[in-house]
């Protein structure tokens, strides 16, 4: 019966995680939280798109030769409103937290976890399925948002995006999904480790505030300590300070995401860091082709994906080592 200890159990079709994911997805789609988030993001998008269209007309009038005009629509800042991308970058973590903070703890508190893992599925199917479902809803929300904005843009501006612009937006979409994955992974970990969903939500939101709103403040403080700026800094001192700020800032996934977004959606930007005057001296300001932009953001993108993997792996391991009962 158990003669062969190496006998690997073949999992029956369809894979367990798919069944879990499809159930979770159905739950998410009917959930109040999706409605609230859609409303929130929709509202932000409408306001900003409205402001951006006005602004873009101004730009378009005197810069009809501007490269990637359509994308400008996503990056243009209104007079009082930040750009659409800034808002999305700000709200994406919230999506990740919302669809992950109670992933496992809700099963525990409802008493369904023991029943779920006693079905013929692998234990990791539970976390995997939930993570996939969360990412799928987030992708759907972002896609809907991007399509609506693009649609409004085409209608109001009468500009059709070029192929390269579409490719850039697609790259941005994948990047944003990875950024959302970072937060979803963190939230999933919190839902495994913390028994109470409310605590997990609070911790998640606190992390979001610290890493997005207060990170610049904190980074500035730390940089001042490590590389103090005298009243009249020399060029070397100022440069040193700025470098520290940049590197410390990259601890936050928010910074990584922002840097990568800026490069991806502004073909004229050629580095995620800063350039010294001697480096741009006599440089011809030409837009970068997409592959060159991708090359510039490669480190940021890879780091973001690595962060997703790291958080998810932590959640996975924590879940696998946990006792069913407790």
């Amino acid at each position: 019966m158990d003669a062969d200890p190496r006998a690997v159990e073949r999992s029956p079709r369809p894979a367990g995680w798919r069944i879990v994911a499809s159930k979770e997805l159905a739950d998410h789609l009917l959930s109040v939280r999706l409605l609230v988030l859609l409303l929130l993001m929709g509202l932000a998008a409408v306001g900003i798109v409205y402001a951006a269209t006005g602004r873009i007309r101004e730009i378009a009038e005197d810069a009809s030769g501007t490269p990637a005009l359509f994308i400008r629509f996503f990056t243009a800042e209104g007079e009082r409103l930040p750009s659409l991308l800034t808002i999305v970058g700000f709200l994406v973590p919230l999506l990740g937290i919302a669809f992950g903070f109670d992933a496992v703890s809700s099963e525990r508190s409802q008493g369904t976890l023991a029943r779920l893992v006693s079905q013929p599925i692998r234990r990791d199917d539970v976390v995997n399925g939930k993570f996939v479902a969360g990412l799928a809803v987030i992708a759907a929300v972002l896609l809907a948002l991007a399509l609506v904005v693009a649609g409004v843009g085409i209608l109001r501006l009468g500009i059709v995006p070029s192929l390269e612009e579409v490719a850039r937006l697609l790259a941005w979409f994948v990047l944003t999904l990875a950024y959302a994955g970072v937060w979803l992974g963190l939230a999933t970990l919190l839902s495994v480790v913390l028994r109470r969903a409310a605590t997990a939500a609070l911790v998640g939101v606190a992390a979001w505030l610290v890493l997005t709103l207060f990170s610049n403040l904190l980074v500035g403080l730390v940089a001042d300590v490590v590389a103090p700026l005298p009243r009249e800094p020399t060029f070397e001192e100022a440069l040193n300070h700025a470098r520290w700020e940049q590197w410390l800032g990259r601890v936050s996934p928010q910074t990584l995401y922002e840097e990568a977004t800026i490069v991806l959606l502004n073909p004229e930007v050629r580095t995620a860091g800063f350039l010294l005057p001697q480096q741009v001296d006599r440089a011809v300001p030409t837009p970068l082709p997409l592959d060159q932009s991708l090359l510039v953001v490669w480190p940021q993108a890879v780091t973001l994906v690595a962060l997703v993997v790291a958080w998810f792996a932590a959640a996975y391991v924590a879940f696998m080592r946990q006792e069913v009962r407790a």
């Binding site: 158990d2 029956p12 879990v20 739950d27 029943r115 779920l116 893992v117 013929p120 006792e323």
Partner: protein, 321 residues
């Protein structure tokens, strides 16, 4: 017993959490078609044992066999053929009873049409046909427990494991649930392992019980046999007498041949307890009648499974475990 391979078997099954032994070298063998009651106080290691049998918790030592398979090595196969109703079973509150069962059917990869038929039938059987399309959050505890049994049966298990199936349910509900469990073995030929700390509730349906205290199986066998085995030792008799029992009653009872000890209940002066070599009820009754003391009640405590249990508990602790 011989000839037939046991449906559930444990050999030296042990689970250690840090320094505490949750389950200590458990040996157990349950025959196919049998209803076995795992009885013991809360925290005795019943749930831990069940989780090890399902492959949801890895034994620290020893091994288990369920339907001849090792749950550690072949958890999926075991979980496909074993239905489990956890302690305080939970469901997704916003889904209906039927939707909850459907999810279980999908997780067991049942073909949709077959699953629908089976679910209909099961809901009817556990008396939830009318509530089937209401969200589970509107269910009472008894209804949830019955849904739990239906849920475990969706996969048509060969072994059903029920953890504390009667806790927190009113007496009528308990009777219904016990009848369902009895039907599992009788009509479906399933092997049933149930755990409980309420012995009097489940004794009637168990073919055999095992008494589980402090992680050890201290006794097992059919209920009457266990009771008999215990009766060999000293017997405790409880007497309820009316007020105004004469003071010399204590002495008179104590002087009966074979009585070891007479204790008067501190809280209820009308309640006396005798420890005797054998069953002295007739002699006690005679003494009381002769003393002109009205008898309120007179019974032997060992008859109750609860008493067996208390008794074993004392012994297990006395062993210096």
């Amino acid at each position: 017993m011989a000839g037939q391979a046991p449906a559930v078997e444990a050999r030296g099954l042990t689970k250690r959490y840090g320094d505490t032994l949750a389950v200590d070298r458990l040996d157990l063998s349950i025959r196919p078609g049998e209803i076995f009651g795992l009885l013991g106080p809360n925290g005795a290691g019943k749930t831990t044992t069940i989780l090890m049998l399902l492959g949801l918790s890895e034994p620290s030592a020893g091994e288990a066999r369920v339907l001849g398979m090792d749950p550690v090595r072949r958890p999926l196969e075991v979980k496909r053929r074993v239905g489990y109703v956890p302690d305080d079973v939970g469901f997704y509150g916003s889904l209906t009873g039927r939707e909850n069962l459907r999810y279980t059917a999908r997780l067991n990869r049942l073909p949709a049409r077959e699953a629908e038929e089976r679910i209909d039938h099961l809901l009817d059987e556990v008396g939830l046909a009318e509530a089937a399309d209401r969200p589970v959050e509107t269910y009472s505890r008894g209804m949830r427990q019955r849904l739990g049994i239906a849920d475990a049966l969706v996969k048509e298990p060969e072994v059903a494991i029920l953890d504390e199936p009667t806790v927190g349910i009113d007496p009528e509900g308990v009777a219904e649930i016990l009848e369902l469990i009895r039907g599992l073995a009788r009509d479906r030929g399933a092997t049933v392992l149930l755990s409980s700390h309420l012995l009097h509730q489940v004794r009637s349906i168990c073919d055999r019980v095992g008494i589980f205290i402090g992680g050890r199986l201290v006794a097992h066998g059919p209920v009457p046999e266990l009771a008999e085995r215990l009766a060999v030792g000293p017997v405790t008799i409880e007497v309820g007498v009316g007020d105004g029992a004469p003071v010399e009653l204590h002495e008179r009872l104590g002087s009966l041949p074979g009585v070891r000890e007479v204790v008067r209940d501190a809280r209820e002066p009308g309640r006396w307890r005798l420890v005797a070599e054998q069953d002295l009820r007739p002699a006690v009754a005679e003494t009381l009648v002769r003393s002109g003391v009205p008898i309120r009640h007179l019974h032997r405590l060992e008859d109750e499974l609860d008493e067996i249990y208390r008794r074993y508990f004392r012994e297990a602790v006395g062993d210096g475990r």
